[in-house]
């Protein structure tokens, strides 16, 4: 990824900054300049909390060119709590049984390390939810989402 392009993406990559329509309040990730729902151009920045559930996943056996250093890895689609779906690498999942519906959270990790000029691209990935509320979450019988 080229430096200026990476620089433009840093807010969305580092912090999950997306957009929210001032008119109909729908939130979007990636950020947009035009609302998909009501076509209003009045979109402000919106910071997603980063928590969600796993919508789907796949373990990629080969990494594309430029991603070998951090691979092979699993990728997934996550249903963020605020509604949108997001595509990302999954991390901290060695030895973990992935399943659709498991709670996950965003962390900022290295995405690429051998870009053309040798700089590091950092960005969002998702890992199984780790917090000391995790115990409480799994001890409740209906806590695990089914979608």
């Amino acid at each position: 990824m080229q430096l200026p392009r990476y620089h433009r993406l840093r807010q969305s990559f580092y912090r999950l900054e997306g957009s929210r329509c001032e008119n109909c309040e729908k939130a979007f990730f990636p950020p947009r300049k035009l609302c998909r729902e009501c076509h209003s151009p009045d979109l402000g920045t919106y910071l997603f909390t980063g928590t969600g559930t796993l919508y789907s996943y796949s373990q990629m056996n080969q990494s594309p060119r430029g991603f070998a250093n951090v691979g092979p890895y699993a990728v997934g689609m996550v249903r963020l709590d605020e509604g949108p779906l997001i595509m990302a690498q999954l991390t901290d999942v060695d030895g973990v049984d992935l399943r659709i519906g498991m709670p996950v959270e965003m962390v900022t990790r290295k995405i690429q390390e051998n870009s053309a000029h040798g700089y590091i691209v950092y960005g969002y990935k998702f890992r199984p939810l780790l917090s000391n509320t995790t115990e409480a979450l799994f001890s409740s019988p209906d806590a695990v989402a089914t979608t």
Binding site: Y14, D92, R109, Y122
Partner: protein
């Protein structure tokens, strides 16, 4: 040293990566005997997609959760480390951007071997105490490198912690006083072109770690007219399980005082993160009114000592982010030394 404005810690956050390598796996590779003489049982290793920057980001986010402040109010982000991903390009700017503290912020990376983190703390205290800033963030974090086959390979680990300093009133812990003791003592070093550090073996003990830690501790206690028994907890730099226990006993601290702050037994030496991680472990269990003594050590050499008293109800913010214990208990043991080599980036294609 005391500040003009009273300063406290308003937020704290730890981070330790998930992978572990058992000391046995290292010993087997190098033909060392596993006869109970290995310094630690296992150490933490960064995941393939982690480095000092990513770990600092998570620790800082944890600190912000506990501080419950708007990151835009943070006026400085200082990362103390000896494993910067870039030799030239600050890690702190990436951290500052990722936590939402830019652009009205000062940022820099600091180096003083294992006490870079406490240097950042000392500087943050001054920044806030002078009235220049309401909040300043100090991080001590490392993904430590060690030469394969060297004794330090057993203990050079990854992890650390972040502290947000702010006004003393409503803080979690007040900084009563601090003191820095520094001499030019080359016990451990790495030239720019070297991949791995060199260390002075037994020279790192008495003339280095022990003397600087003792001098700094003694000096601060003299200045504040305090004795070890005035403190509930004590945290020292932890290069291995023996050194902090030895210096504590020499100074007159008990095992009970230092045990909660000892993380080296579980995960090894996190270098710039070591004493800061130990302090976070103490914050995870301390109560209002507890007094905490903190003294770091960094090769080169020096020690930063702090005297603190718990001011807030830590139990109210503890669960806002993972505790040190949460991070220590989540682990993924790497199968073999080869995997460890890959994770710690020691494999180079010829």
């Amino acid at each position: 040293m005391k500040t003009i404005k009273e300063v406290g810690i308003v937020g704290y956050g730890a981070y330790v990566p998930r992978p572990r390598i058992p000391a046995k796996a290292i010993a087997t590779t190098w033909g060392a005997a596993d006869n109970g003489s290995l310094p630690v049982r296992q150490k933490s290793v960064p995941s393939l997609d982690e480095d000092t920057v990513t770990m600092s980001i998570e620790a800082s986010r944890n600190a912000i959760e506990r501080a419950n402040i708007n990151p835009q109010q943070i006026r400085a982000v200082w990362v103390g480390t000896e494993s910067k991903p870039y030799a030239v390009k600050p890690s702190s700017t990436i951290v500052a951007e990722a936590i939402g503290a830019t652009p009205a912020v000062s940022a820099a990376d600091m180096e003083f071997a294992c006490k870079a983190g406490s240097e950042a703390m000392q500087t943050a205290v001054a920044f806030v105490g002078s009235g220049m800033a309401e909040y300043a963030l100090a991080i001590g974090m490392d993904a430590a490198q060690s030469k394969p086959g060297d004794a330090l390979e057993y203990t050079a680990a990854a992890g650390g912690a972040a502290y947000i300093f702010g006004p003393a009133e409503d803080s979690l812990a007040i900084v009563e006083a601090s003191y820095s003791h520094v001499t030019d003592t080359p016990d451990f070093f790495r030239r720019q072109h070297m991949h791995y550090p060199e260390h002075g073996h037994r020279f790192t003990g008495l003339p280095a770690y022990l003397s600087h830690t003792q001098e700094a501790t003694q000096a601060l206690m003299d200045l504040t007219s305090a004795r070890p028994s005035d403190y509930d907890w004590a945290v020292f730099h932890q290069p291995n399980p023996k050194f902090p226990r030895r210096v504590a006993h020499t100074l007159g601290f008990t095992d009970k005082q230092i045990l909660p702050g000892l993380v080296v037994d579980s995960i090894g030496n996190t270098y710039s993160g070591s004493s800061l991680l130990g302090l976070a472990a103490v914050f995870d269990i301390a109560k209002k009114g507890d007094r905490i003594f903190f003294c770091s050590y960094g090769s080169g050499a020096g020690s930063d000592a702090f005297s603190m008293v718990v001011n807030g109800d830590l139990v109210n913010v503890r669960d806002h982010a993972p505790t040190v214990r949460d991070y220590l208990s989540r682990s993924h043991v790497l199968n073999d030394y080869g995997q460890y080599l890959r994770h710690s980036r020691k494999i180079r294609l010829l």
